[in-house]
Each structure stands twice: as structure tokens, then as C-alpha cells.
């Protein structure tokens, strides 16, 4: 079957459209999170998502309705733990991460053990995305990206040097809260694309790949978005052609881009040192 034939299927079109919006969202937030040394917040919140999905399955509610508020509250909790309990970001993320997983296991146990639905959320399946999920992904992605664009200078300033930004009168608390809440929304949306286990890859890979070649902050954001889009599309097509799991294929294409960018940068650095 040719690529054109693959692309004519509705379920593949839905996967690429929703995945594209979510990927750009992930790459944008990923750049901010990696630079602030909060790379693993995606991983931590994904674990909380696991707990919240278990809760949703227990009450037979559509997972997004439970996951979104629970994960947003948890991300706010991580922020407050860092600010008020004098806990470093990685430790705060670790606390929430462990509680999320433990909560999920306990809830699943109360529900009479794990079932197939819960495991399906661990690895996601973007090819089974519904039209309603596509619309939700587009709407939430557009809102979050628009807010980031309109607050670009404040966000850049805080990411570069929070004290300088605060001294200049930027409301750092508002921006920090905004970033962690947006990360929570993004993690919940990403659950369907690559699953809970691989969510952090979509946040981290585009950013670290872009940092190898970017010439400026704005440039890094655009390169990260481009890498995310190409990796998503490439990963979906690769999984269809080779009959591989889609989420894992997307992540491995991301890894391929990172290794290539890393090798190119090292080669260029060596060349410039010689001259």
C-alpha cells in the first residue's frame, strides 16, 4: 500500500491532524521546561495521569474529564511544593510521580484488578483517536499556543533569568502557574498519542534536538516545532509501513533526529576548531 493510500484513510488523517497540534504544543512547552531544568515534569504528570485514568475507569467516566482537572491540580501542587516547601523541582516531581502511580495501582485494585483499558493508556494509540478527541486537541492546543504567543517576551524573560524578569515587574507567579497548567493539559492530550509511558519524550526530544542547531531562542522554538511535526508524521507512516506500534515509532524517529543533529553539531564544532 502506498503512502498516498494510507493518507486517504480517515483514521490516519485524524491521527496526523490531532498529533500535529499536540506535537507543536509539546515542542513549545518542552523548550521552556528543558531550559528551566524541569524536563521530567512531563514524566511525573504522566504518572499522575495514570492514576487519574484508573479513577475515571472506576467511575466509568470519560478519562479526559477526570484526568484534566486532576493533572492540572497536581502540576500546581508541584509548583507550590517547589516554592513553599523548599523542595527542588526534581524531588517535587518525584513525590507527585510516585503518588500518581501508587494511587492508580490502588484504584485499579479496588476496581478488581487491572484491565485492558488501563494498559492501553500506558502506550496510547493515536490511530484510534476519535473525531471528538481531534476537536478537543485542536481547541486546547490553539488556546494554549495563542496564550504563549501573546506572552512570548515575558515567558522568554522568565526562562532566561527569573530574578531579572521579576525585578522588571513581570508577574513571574502568573507565568510560572500558566506554564505548569499548560504542561498538565499537554500531558493529558499526549496520553493518546504515545501513551503515558512515552509522554516525556514528546516534550524533551524536540527541544534537545533544536538546541543542537538553533541560533537563538525564537529559532529554537521553530526548529523544535518542525522536528516534532516531521517526527510525528514520519513515525505514523513508519509504523503503518512496517506494522510497528505507532507511539514507539514516533519516539524512535525523534531519537533519530536527535542523534543526527548531535552528530552534525559535533562534526561542525570539530571542523571549526581545526580552522
Amino acid at each position: 500500500m502506498s503512502i498516498i493510500e494510507f493518507l486517504s484513510y480517515g483514521f490516519i488523517q485524524r491521527a496526523i491532524i490531532a498529533g500535529a497540534f499536540i506535537s507543536v504544543l509539546c515542542s513549545t512547552l518542552g523548550v521552556l521546561l528543558v531550559l528551566r531544568r524541569l524536563s521530567l515534569i512531563g514524566d511525573g504528570l504522566a504518572h499522575v495521569t495514570f492514576g487519574s485514568v484508573a479513577l475515571a475507569l472506576l467511575f466509568r467516566v470519560y478519562p479526559l474529564y477526570i484526568s484534566l482537572p486532576v493533572v492540572m491540580a497536581s502540576s500546581y501542587g508541584i509548583l507550590k511544593l517547589m516554592e513553599r516547601a523548599r523542595i527542588f523541582g526534581d524531588a517535587a516531581i518525584g513525590i507527585l510521580s510516585a503518588v500518581g502511580i501508587a494511587g492508580g495501582v490502588l484504584v485499579a485494585s479496588l476496581a478488581g484488578g487491572f484491565n485492558v483499558d488501563l494498559f492501553s493508556f500506558l502506550f496510547g494509540n493515536i490511530l484510534s483517536i476519535s473525531s471528538q478527541e481531534v476537536y478537543t486537541s485542536i481547541i486546547l492546543s490553539v488556546i494554549v499556543l495563542a496564550v504563549i504567543v501573546f506572552n512570548y517576551h515575558d515567558i522568554f524573560s522568565i526562562t532566561f533569568d527569573e530574578d531579572f524578569a521579576k525585578a522588571g515587574g513581570i508577574n513571574t507567579n502568573r507565568i510560572n502557574t500558566m506554564i505548569v497548567l499548560f504542561t498538565a493539559i499537554t500531558v493529558v492530550l499526549t496520553m493518546k498519542v504515545v501513551g503515558i509511558m512515552l509522554t516525556s519524550a514528546l516534550l524533551i526530544f524536540p527541544a534537545v534536538t533544536a538546541f543542537q542547531v538553533a541560533r537563538g531562542f525564537r529559532n529554537a522554538l521553530f526548529i523544535a516545532a518542525a522536528v516534532a511535526l516531521v517526527s510525528l508524521t514520519g513515525g505514523i507512516l513508519l509504523s503503518l509501513i512496517l506494522n510497528l506500534p505507532t507511539g514507539a515509532s514516533i519516539v524512535m524517529v525523534h531519537f533519530g533526529f536527535f542523534i543526527t543533529a548531535f552528530a552534525c553539531k559535533n562534526a561542525l564544532d570539530r571542523k571549526s576548531r581545526r580552522h
Partner: protein, 251 residues
């Protein structure tokens, strides 16, 4: 009566139960150059951070150019240069031009778009600091001295009326340090920028500052160098060598 550039009244600050600043009051006239000194842990950097609004005082008030320090009209007229190493991530993907533009963000109103006047302001300040050729370079690729010049440009691009410098020359070589202080002195002299400088470099204080503010939780001494050099109390605090260094270089 002219408005004081910085007016601090009955200011106290605690880190948990430890009092770091106790009932500090002083005023700085516009165009003055203050050397803020004191032993380690005496509250110098804390005082700068409280003035900047980075830390919330237990009590007391601060006015900058006649406005409460929390007022945006005050904030946008203050330039701040911290110790470089305290915040800087050398792998941050930002160009020199992007970094300097951050100094303009505070005076912008929503939706904070940069325009031609901002680009011209960035070009002007880069030229003033003789780093126009670095405009498109990545900040992480520069030497320590060049990076510090970029951060000075970020502090100056907004044409501040007050400049707060917190040990700005840490990790700079002597030649670069000398050039840095010459520049600050020029801004103070020619552009009438009020300067408050935290440093342990007593020679620099003696050479450039016009007044000395010595704190150790509370104000120990605040005044001109003539008073300071005559003060026996200060010999006890600084030791005769430092006192000689300050007074000799100021003459």
C-alpha cells in the same frame, strides 16, 4: 526639594527567624554613586533584592524616584546587574540581540511587540559597549568579559535612571574589571545615572564611588569619604590596610 532616587525607611527583613536587615533607613540623591559594603552575610545582596522587589520585607517602605517600589513607573527605570554566575545557563539558545532585548520587556504593555525604536535602542547600547559585532552571536559562545558586557547592555538598554549592581565583576579578569568600572563611572558622570554598587573590592569603591554605605544587618556608616576617612570607628571595621586603600585611591 528634589526627589530622592532611592528612599528606604525603617526596612527590616528576615529569612525565616534570622533577621538579616534591621530598621534600615537611608536616602540616595539622584546622580549619586554609592558603594554598598559589609562583611559576608551582612545583608548587602538582600538589601538590593528587597529594593528590586525580589524579596518581601517584614516592614518598612521603599520609594524609587518618588514612586512605591512596586509601581511599574519605578520598575521600568531601574537597571539591575546580578552576579553573572548566579543565574546564567551557558547553553541557553539566545543571541546577544535577543538577550539585550529582554531589558526592554518591562516597559512594554500588552501585547509587548518589539518595534523599530526598540531595535534602534538595542543597536545604540551595543555600540556604546563596543559589542555591535557580537549582535548575532550566541551568548554561550562568548568569553566571560563579553558576556558581562551583554548583561550590562541588557541593564542599560531601557535607559535606567537607577542602576543596581550586585558584585557584577566576579570572575572577570583585572583588565575587563577596570573597563567595566570606567563605563559605569562614565554613565554616572555623563548620563547622571544613580549607581548603587555591591562589591568586596575596596579599591574600586575608593576609586569610583562618592559615598559609602556600610551595613552589617543595620547601617554602620553612611556618608562621604571625607567623613569616612576621618572615622576611627571605620578603621576597626575595615582594618587599616583597606581604609588606606579606599582613602588613598579616592584622593
Amino acid at each position: 526639594m528634589p526627589v530622592e532616587a532611592i528612599k528606604v525607611e525603617n526596612l527590616s527583613f528576615r529569612y525565616n527567624s534570622i533577621e538579616v536587615l534591621s530598621n534600615v533607613s537611608f536616602g540616595v540623591e539622584a546622580g549619586d554613586y554609592i558603594g554598598l559594603v559589609g562583611p559576608n552575610g551582612s545583608g548587602k545582596s538582600t538589601l538590593i533584592k528587597v529594593i528590586l522587589g525580589l524579596l518581601e520585607p517584614v516592614r518598612g517602605s521603599i520609594r524609587l524616584l518618588g514612586y512605591p517600589s512596586s509601581d511599574m513607573k519605578a520598575r521600568e527605570k531601574v537597571g539591575y546587574l546580578p552576579q553573572k554566575m548566579s543565574f546564567f545557563n551557558p547553553n541557553f539558545p539566545a543571541t546577544v540581540s535577543e538577550t539585550v532585548a529582554l531589558g526592554l520587556v518591562s516597559k512594554k504593555r500588552f501585547p509587548k511587540r518589539m518595534d523599530a525604536a526598540d531595535v534602534a535602542a538595542i543597536d545604540r547600547v551595543l555600540e556604546l559597549l563596543n559589542i555591535s559585532n557580537l549582535k548575532r552571536e550566541m551568548i554561550g559562545d562568548l568569553s566571560g568579559g563579553q558576556q558581562q558586557r551583554v548583561f550590562i547592555a541588557r541593564a542599560l538598554v531601557n535607559e535606567p535612571e537607577i542602576l543596581l549592581l550586585d558584585e557584577p565583576t566576579t570572575a572577570l579578569d583585572p583588565g575587563t574589571r577596570e573597563g567595566f568600572f570606567e563605563l559605569i563611572s562614565y554613565l554616572n558622570r555623563e548620563k547622571k545615572v544613580t549607581v548603587m554598587l555591591v562589591t568586596h573590592d575596596m579599591g574600586t569603591i575608593g576609586q569610583f564611588a562618592r559615598k559609602l554605605l556600610y551595613i552589617d544587618k543595620e547601617i554602620i556608616f553612611y556618608g562621604g569619604f571625607d567623613d569616612f576617612c576621618m572615622s576611627e570607628k571605620m578603621t576597626a571595621f575595615f582594618g587599616p590596610a583597606s581604609q588606606h586603600l579606599i582613602c588613598h585611591r579616592h584622593e
